[in-house]
Amino acid sequence: MTRLIDLAAILRSKNAGPLFVTFDVIFDNQKNYERVKKSGVLTKELIADIYDVDANNVSIIMYHIVTSLKITIPRKEISGSILDADIYGCQQHVPLSNVMIP
């Protein structure tokens, strides 16, 4: 088992407009990309669980051109609302980083 961040070359989160946070997991080799893809670990249900959102609102897209995957979830707090703590959403990646991949 290896943490997702140890397999990825880039693992980042960023706001996509004020309503969504999007995660880019970019691999620098086909082997790691295929390993994560074939593991089947990264499901909408898992993302929904670790980020406490509705699985129906989770989007996961494989982007083969740069051996990467993109995950998008709705923000729990809209950008800049009274309880929001990360306007740019760029520090939301850590729970995803720690997902274990067989």
Binding site: G17, D24, I26, I50, S59, I61, T72
Partner: protein, 449 residues
């Protein structure tokens, strides 16, 4: 045709090397994105820019005389950071100041793209307002509360303005892509390629190695493809970087959603044509049956006062949630009859705690950073509640307490910081439109001579 993107955001800076390089090229247009909603709702709400005036002025004053002399239109979108009328005016004054200082005579096409509450109400009445995501439902009350609403215009108003002989196109809130796609589409280029190009270069040299939002990129668009090359010789574009940038801050890496339709990137071809340049082809545009414009509106929700402090005592850190609950109860009781608990929101933000999903490890003795955050109906109430909470938190006693002199380490005097008005996004929705120019107005002004 060659289009230069000055940088990722007007006011972020660019290198003089890049400026000298583009001066030696045959450039048709220079564009730059002047804003973003990324820094949150305050700036649209407050009518001020998150970019710095002197830094914005620097970026314009170095390039403007060259652009005017060579008759290269300078296109600035989402002026003043948020693109409201007040923001456009702010940017206009900077340009006029530069023109005066440098003795430049120029014509500015000013595109305003604010909309009225009445416009949004009418759209809602006829069912032409659509949600973008969960969590933000539009109601009549929200529209009433909004203090400023802008529309993200697409290419149409830009093309109209470009048909004049304006030296500068200064536009309010815009799709980032419109700034760069409009001149290419006006020149008859393929829509799919024009928008894909625009999507990449609107961030300046962020798609290059070393990546930089603070430098220029040059796009050369032809009938069948476009080529990207950083102006600064120290940077280069690679297929991986450019393709990776296409997915940046988008919800979907294969589609770009525009007012006119969708750009389909599933079959896009990337080709490394030199050490520093990438050529892209086969990006396709699909026209939408219903055209839409994105609306952004902000509303004032209160006024904020905060206190920043550290807690070093492990006994206090362990009990902090219980202590804070008691502080809230104390304030409610203490101010009963004077300030209702519905007149403010008080939050304790804690920094330095273990995150959910973190891997257990032994943590050395460390301190906890806190922000006592109060948002209230008025600044006076926010100041009062913050002062009471700060004093109570500082001196709150608890079972077994040994450090009885105080619970908080304040880094600053004064401890309480007045932050002013707080805005939130009330509107972030799509409006279906019959005419993509219906939210904008173009005026032409002459400066200097």
């Amino acid at each position: 045709m060659k289009i230069v993107s000055l940088n990722g955001l007007l006011g972020y800076g660019y290198s003089i090397e890049s400026l000298e390089k583009i001066k030696a090229m045959d450039i048709d247009y220079i564009g730059v994105d002047g804003g973003s909603s990324d820094p949150g709702p305050f700036y649209l709400g407050n009518g001020t820019s998150f970019t710095n005036r002197d830094a914005v002025k620097r970026d314009v004053e170095l390039v403007l005389p060259y652009a005017v002399e060579r008759k290269i239109p300078l296109i600035i979108g989402t002026a003043g950071g948020s693109g409201g009328n007040a923001h456009v005016q702010w940017m206009r004054e900077i340009i006029e100041e530069i023109a005066k200082e440098q003795g430049l005579g120029l014509k500015i096409a000013i595109i305003q793209s604010e909309v009225t509450k009445e416009y949004v109400r009418e759209k809602m009445c006829v069912g032409k307002i659509k949600n973008i995501g969960p969590g933000l439902e539009l109601t009549r009350e929200i529209i009433d509360q909004c203090n400023r609403i802008v529309s993200q215009i697409g290419i149409d108003p830009y093309i109209k303005a470009l048909e004049s002989d304006a030296d500068v196109i200064l536009a309010g809130r815009s799709c980032d892509t419109a700034i760069f796609a409009a001149p290419a589409i006006k020149a008859g280029m393929d829509w799919g390629l024009a928008f894909h190009m625009a999507k990449i270069i609107e961030c300046g040299a962020l798609c290059a190695i070393p990546m930089a939002a603070a430098d220029m990129i040059v796009a050369d668009i032809e009938k069948e493809s476009f080529t990207l090359e950083p102006a600064n010789p120290v940077r280069r574009c690679t297929i991986e970087r450019v393709a990776a940038h296409t997915m940046y801050e988008q919800t979907n890496p294969y589609y770009i959603y525009e007012p006119d339709g969708i750009i389909d990137l599933k079959k896009s071809q990337y080709e490394q044509i030199s050490n520093r340049a990438v050529r892209i082809s086969n990006s396709k545009f699909r026209e939408a049956g219903i055209k839409t414009l994105k609306l952004e509106g902000t509303m004032l929700v209160g006024y904020r006062t905060i206190t920043i402090a550290g807690i070093n005592d492990p006994m206090t850190i362990k009990r902090i949630d219980a202590i804070f609950s008691e502080v809230k109860e104390f304030i409610a009781g203490n101010m009963a009859g004077k300030i209702g608990s519905d007149e403010y929101t008080i939050t304790l933000r804690k920094y330095g705690e273990a995150l959910p999903g973190s891997i257990p490890q032994s943590i050395p003795n460390c301190n906890l950073g806190i922000i006592l955050d109060v948002v209230a109906k008025s600044q006076d109430i926010a100041n009062t509640i913050c002062a009471l909470a700060r004093a109570r938190l500082l001196h709150k006693d608890y079972q077994g307490r040994k450090s009885t002199a105080g619970n908080l380490a304040f880094p600053y005097s004064p401890s309480d910081i007045v932050c002013g008005p707080v805005y939130t996004f009330g509107i972030y929705h799509l409006a279906e439109v019959d005419d993509l120019c219906e939210t904008s107005e173009i005026n032409y002004v002459k400066v200097g001579e």
